[in-house]
């Protein structure tokens, strides 16, 4: 805190004393008690549910009812719960997991592919109607998927696609935000000179795209992939209205069905399996984040420094 004082040029003693003592320097952020407290509250707010989930997935149904929510019960049933989750109802949980992977693979993967192709084209090619496309994409970012769900349902119903995996995969292919992100990223990350040089050397447009542009876009692609993966993985409302056959449910719908079993006469109450299933459901996402974050971070800094 005293560095700024000594650093300031001293002409006489009087101004030196008047120099603000708590001058803020970029290298050394100002400490702020309020911010620290707010930060701590935020951390609590986000981490406590996760801790709760981990602790409670170790409990049996009776342990859940008669123990404190934030501490372990006398019995440790995590492995039993995991086994039961995968074997309950003829192992339908595994089927739901595969469904989710299918929806994420085709839906989020396809959405990323389309966003990369579209973003690159919009950023690096001049064609009539570009501004109109821009307006549509920006507008589409603002429309929540939930608002489109019912019209989409009616349309798909006419086409006879409801209650098939396509009803979930096709709408997931559209990611206006991903397209916008790829567009901005492509404009920043690929110097037009590089493309011109490639063309000059006689490379075809396809080859230019795959060999010159694509490697430069990698961080952006990972970012978009992460966003679309999370969105598809967590999607609840779209499958809820599209699917009737439980064999096509993704994890989100399946877990909610298990949870609502507790509300029916004679229904099995399996809160312990719902909780363990929820934990198992978020593990792949956590793994994806940890694995992909380094690419993501390197991508986020693009364009932050003027060269």
């Amino acid at each position: 805190m005293s560095t700024s004082v000594t650093a300031s040029p001293a002409k006489s003693t009087a101004p030196r004393l008047r120099t603000p003592r708590k001058k803020h320097t970029p290298g050394k952020p100002k400490r702020n008690v309020l911010l620290t407290v707010l930060m701590a509250l935020m951390v609590l707010y986000t981490v406590v549910p996760l801790i709760w989930l981990i602790i409670n997935s170790t409990k049996t149904q009776s342990g859940l009812a008669d123990s404190n929510g934030l501490w372990f019960a006398h019995d440790f049933a995590l492995w039993d719960n995991v086994r039961d989750t995968f074997t309950y109802h003829d192992g339908i949980f595994g089927r739901w997991l595969l469904n989710t992977l299918l929806y994420v693979g085709l839906g989020a993967g396809g959405a990323t592919l389309l966003a990369v192709l579209g973003g690159y084209a919009l950023a690096k090619f001049q064609f009539p109607g570009r501004r109109a496309v821009f307006a549509v994409v920006i507008g589409a970012v603002a429309v929540p998927g939930t608002a489109l769900a019912v019209p989409t349902f009616l349309m798909f119903s006419k086409m006879g696609l409801t209650d098939t995996p396509w009803a979930v995969i096709i709408p997931s292919l559209v990611s206006p935000f991903g397209l916008y992100l790829m567009w901005v990223f492509a404009a920043e990350a690929i110097p037009t000179e590089l493309l011109e040089a490639a063309r000059m050397d006689g490379a075809s447009e396809v080859r230019t795209f795959f060999q010159v542009a694509l490697p430069l876009l990698a961080p952006g692609i990972v970012t978009v992939l992460l966003f679309t993966t999370v969105a598809t993985w967590n999607n609840y409302f779209l499958p809820l209205i599209m699917l009737k056959d439980p064999n096509w449910y993704p994890l989100t719908l399946g877990l909610s069905a298990w949870s609502s079993q507790a509300q029916t006469i004679g229904g099995d109450v399996i809160f312990n399996l719902v909780i363990t299933g929820s934990l198992l459901t978020i593990l792949p996402l956590i793994a994806a984040f940890l694995f992909l974050q380094k690419y993501w971070q390197s991508g986020l800094s693009a364009g932050s420094v003027k060269e």
Binding site: T60, Q61, S62, G63, L64, A65, D66, H89, I92, V150, P151, L154, S157, D163, K244, D245, P246, Y249, G254, A257, W258, S260, Q261, A262, Q263, T264, I265, G266, G267, D268, V269, I270, F271
Partner: protein, 445 residues
């Protein structure tokens, strides 16, 4: 431009049907289907084989379906069981109004049957031989599935009411098990005074419980005669109910917990919710949902509204019905009959379901069954007694699912604000009358 508008309007119409879960029209021509189907026809269909789809969440049906397929190897039963309650009815209504994807057999709770039968969404099973099964069932459930000489489903289970109470808690505070609702009120006061965290029961407004208690008290608010309805909560039975329940609410003697939530299961387990007046199917839910309170709970007959009166009522219970648009009705009926009247009944009882059939209810094996959960109590005797004492002249509205959905906006206010329960019921009545008139019913005032 005009075409888009009309398309949007049609979209909105369909969406509102979706939202209300009410079918405006079943779109069926079921009336032509009244010729009798002989046992031979059904047997021929079974021998020929085929696929049927069953939408039902009742867990014991899994074994029943497996047995059925073993007996009739050419028939494949596709049991869809991951949906229940509102979601189930929304899906069923949507399928019926879309005319596509309708199951061959659907589980329909008694309170919701009217909605589907009145809109001709269900097959009349009488021509298939269902009318001859009347004497097999207790009067409550049979009355719920039949309308004159038409039969819209076969009773799968029933819910004659009983009072479940936590004996450990009652013993601890030396409270006697109430035999009348007045004693129940006294017990509520005594218990809450002894332990401010404990309540006699939980209620934040539950249409099913309220209608069942009115039923038991002798109130008959709904009169249904085809499309002519009477809706009136102003009778002596309703007065009895209002008096007791108003005091429970005003004196804050009811735990402010919604039924079927995790809080509720927790309360049933830790002794803060001491009794539960509900259907005889509850032991199965106790065993899986509240395993930690095993040995603490017991069953007792429902408290009477007038001392010595034995009247009981039903709470919950469901039937299997065959939608009018079912593809393979002979097979659908054969399965329904097998599950709810034939060999399936024994299977289902052995897995914990509560029967609707007289023979099973009265059999010594059933009555002397000892419940581990209730510390060896032969609770079925109490339930069977209750089933025999259910008054059979109760009817639900043809749009009861809708009426139940607005219960919390009307009667529910009495639980959270100063509104009187009687005013809440009046508001419920008015809202139901208004909706009924909008749907084209004639309401007799």
């Amino acid at each position: 431009m005009r075409r888009t508008t009309s398309r949007i309007l049609r979209g909105i119409a369909l969406v509102s049907t979706l939202a209300l879960g009410v079918t405006a029209c079943g779109g069926s021509d079921d009336d032509s289907d009244t010729k009798a189907v002989s046992a031979g026809d059904i047997q021929a269909a079974l021998d020929k084989g085929g696929d049927i789809t069953v939408w039902a969440w009742e867990p014991t049906l899994k074994t029943v379906a497996a047995d059925f397929q073993k007996k009739y190897p050419k028939v494949k039963v596709n049991l869809v069981s991951e949906r229940s309650g509102d979601k189930h009815y929304t899906a069923l209504s949507n399928a019926i109004s879309a005319g596509k994807g309708v199951p061959d057999v659907a589980q329909v709770e008694y309170f919701a049957l009217g909605q589907y039968s009145l809109t001709k969404g269900l097959t009349d099973l009488a021509p298939y031989g269902a009318d001859k099964l009347a004497s097999k069932y207790t009067p409550g459930p049979w009355n719920a599935v039949s309308d004159g000489d038409k039969v819209y489903g076969l009773p799968m289970d029933s819910g004659p009411m009983a009072l479940f109470y936590n004996k450990t808690v009652f013993d601890k505070y030396k409270i006697a098990v109430p035999t009348t609702w007045d004693e129940y009120l006294d017990a509520a006061r005594k218990l809450h005074k002894a332990d401010p965290k404990a309540y006699i029961t939980s209620d934040l407004g539950d249409a099913g419980l309220t209608t069942s208690l009115l039923w038991q008290a002798g109130s008959r608010p709904y009169k249904v005669d085809g499309t002519k309805l009477g809706i009136n909560f102003d009778d002596a039975g309703a007065k009895k109910y209002e008096t007791v329940w108003q005091q429970l609410i005003s004196e804050k003697l009811l735990a402010p917990v919604n039924g079927w939530t995790d809080d509720w299961y927790k309360g049933l387990g830790d002794g803060t919710i001491a009794t539960l007046a509900t259907g005889a199917w509850m032991p199965a839910n106790f065993a899986t949902g509240v395993p930690n309170a095993k040995g603490q709970w017991r069953a007792a007959p429902m408290p009477a509204w007038t001392k010595g009166d034995k009247a009981s009522a039903e709470n919950g219970g469901s039937s299997l019905a065959v939608p009018a648009l079912a593809k393979n009705k002979e097979l659908a009926y054969a399965f329904t009959e097998y599950a709810n009247s034939g060999a399936g009944v024994a299977t289902r009882i052995s897995e914990g379901a509560f029967p609707a059939t007289k023979a099973e209810l009265e059999s010594p094996a059933f009555q002397s069954k000892k419940f581990d959960y209730f510390d060896g109590q032969e609770a079925n005797k109490i339930f069977a007694d209750s089933a025999a004492n259910v008054a059979s002249d109760w009817s639900y509205l043809p749009f009861q699912p809708y009426a139940n959905s607005i219960f919390n906006d009307t009667v529910g206010k009495a639980y959270v604000s100063g509104t009187k329960l009687a005013d809440g019921l009046k508001a419920w009545q008015d809202a139901s009358v208004k909706y009924g008139e909008e749907q084209g019913f004639t309401i007799q005032k």
